[in-house]
Symmetry: C2
Amino acid sequence: MKRRSLGTPSGFRDLLSEDANIKSWLVKTISDVYKKWGFLPIETPLVEFTETLAGEVTDFNLYSVIPSKERQTGSAKSLSLRFDQTVPLARFVVDNMDKIALPFKRYVYGPVFRGETAQIERGRYRQFDQLDVDIVGSSNIASDIEILLCMRDTMRSVLGDDSFIIRTNTRKLLNCLPVLFNFSEANLRAVLIELDKRDKVTAESLISSLTGAGLKSTDAEKLAEFGSISGKPIDVLEKIKNICGNLPEAAEAISDLEITANTLVSCNATEIMFDMSIIRGLGYYTGMVFETNLVNAPQFGSVYSGGRYDGLVASFGVQPLPAVGSSVGVDRLIAALQSMNFKIPGEAKKAIVLIQDSVVIDYAFQVADKVRSLGITCEVYTGGKKKLGDQFAYADKLNYDFTIVVGPNEMQNGTVNIKNQKTKVQETMVLSEINFI
Amino acid sequence: MKRRSLGTPSGFRDLLSEDANIKSWLVKTISDVYKKWGFLPIETPLVEFTETLAGEVTDFNLYSVIPSKERQTGSAKSLSLRFDQTVPLARFVVDNMDKIALPFKRYVYGPVFRGETAQIERGRYRQFDQLDVDIVGSSNIASDIEILLCMRDTMRSVLGDDSFIIRTNTRKLLNCLPVLFNFSEANLRAVLIELDKRDKVTAESLISSLTGAGLKSTDAEKLAEFGSISGKPIDVLEKIKNICGNLPEAAEAISDLEITANTLVSCNATEIMFDMSIIRGLGYYTGMVFETNLVNAPQFGSVYSGGRYDGLVASFGVQPLPAVGSSVGVDRLIAALQSMNFKIPGEAKKAIVLIQDSVVIDYAFQVADKVRSLGITCEVYTGGKKKLGDQFAYADKLNYDFTIVVGPNEMQNGTVNIKNQKTKVQETMVLSEINFI
């Protein structure tokens, strides 16, 4: 028998129960919110044609996938693992246009793959999960607002309180920066890259790099000040209106921000701010952009980000379909929650039936059935003829709340010995009247 | 802008909302049962070292995975997509031995990949999902029974009734066939392959192929008869005892079957049968084997199968760790349920807010917030300035139960117009007193 390899490849990892438990709770909690907002689940395969993935928007390193049968011939079309959920969404919409209703509102959960160097200490893996929510087929600001308010509802459901801040901005306004601050359209990308660093550098350093990107120093100062505008949507809107005046290029951005601000007030969404320093690195955003930070774990950065990307579906060569969406960084959110000692709310109590003698196996299973019928998680100790001491050690290692010892006497009398592992209180009960305190 | 590929590669597919919805319900329902039985979730990566996967038990075609960065050098260790969840479990247990308690009870959900020719019409895809439950580290029959009873609880939770049959047998008994029916040990594999076909061939044809595999014709007749033994565990046990007498080689098998039969009676598990024709094709089973059929969709074959495999973990070159488990064929079960017109129980009612005029967007979101607070799924129509007729068509296409039209008058009066799309009953209500019938 050949001895096999151990360990996982670099950038790929096992999830032990504690992490897997919090992840499945998180995915369920968030999916339930998405469902309640009328989003529908879909799935796309993990493997796509390389041509589908390799568009102009990606500089991620793809993983090639080669089926054994086709390895020799090399005739088959090249396949790769997906690197995100957004490009497959665009492909899905075009492929299934006759089966969906527009606007198409979907959520999706699953792994994506990046063939980059793994940086485990920074939480950067080659396989990680994305949980995305998107609306395809509407350029109406109502769909941006739907995503924004749904993000707020999601974070509330996860945290159980309001200890988060969602910050939003619009690329439509950022696109007016050359007109507003007198620099060349060609320098916009470089300016945005500098502005994006605002949080990490001094005001002087920002102004100096903005002049380096082609701004006069007075304009650079003004732009740095503009980048620091942040706060309640209604207040920020007033400031923006003052800066933009009646500039025709800014009219659409201001209208979007105004409808959004009014709706946020209507829905009492005090966790959502306008923030002119929100840029989002990726090139494909065209309208609103979103980021989410945890008040009690700001060091993890944004755990839930997105925006409007109106050009992506058109890159499949069919009609343009505007889209807006947001993605939960599942692994980063888990890491942030764990740094806050987060506990899954309302987890069921757990009991284990320990077996004094193997002749009572059938009784042990009968007891476990009864316990589960009371809504309590229960397993029978299946490790065989171990001493009771070993069985108690197993129960402790798995953090069981109750142990239930059964032996021949209990079987004959139809009773059980229940012990509360936390209080150490022990009690003998008739099986039919079993209860837990 | 380069035009991208459309379509999915052969054997890979998109799941539309209806299928994805039933799948997520199924996975949640089954995972909840596993949890309640004390099984813990884990995750393993989709990519493993090829050496890990390519052991003696597999003849599945692997998919190679090659990261772009390493394509030139060829120096890295070969990687592949996993073809099942069981080999990764064995690798996981060995790698994480210091972090887990034995017996280790886990469940896992996720896709596996087979580089074989896809047969879409027979539901055979290259990527499909497995939802596995296993116990590693105990050879005690209690762990086989735990899996068996948990399978029963799972099927009950999925179907809501007892319209399924779980059939079980033990390889330990099948290993006695050469002694019981006078043929060479070397022919056992061939004999089992013939016996496995019992359901699909006539008695004559079975007897003739058994003689072809080395049995005398009277023994072949007896073995064919043995293969047809099936029914209530206690009854089958009596028959087996008569056939085996005091044969020492069969003692362990009979003891296992006896403890199992007694426990099934204790737990009133009338859906579980003993059936001597259950073999399970795969070579690695060593003890109990399980199959599950739906009473109302028998043509789909077993939707939930497994057994004891005591040799697998040892193939990693460490101590032998006995194991037993079962796997839900998620995609096959979904297909079977859909053939029975299965409906997800207790799905929430759904409402949609339609917008008469875009000046009322903020009010529309306020209404939706209120509706969701009543536990009803609700979206705001985000498609922009479409006529009400188009918005109603969208609501019908997505099968909404209620439509709520809001316009400037409703906003001013703080009212809503709710229409029950099934009964066509329409009503105007004050927002704060909104309710659904």
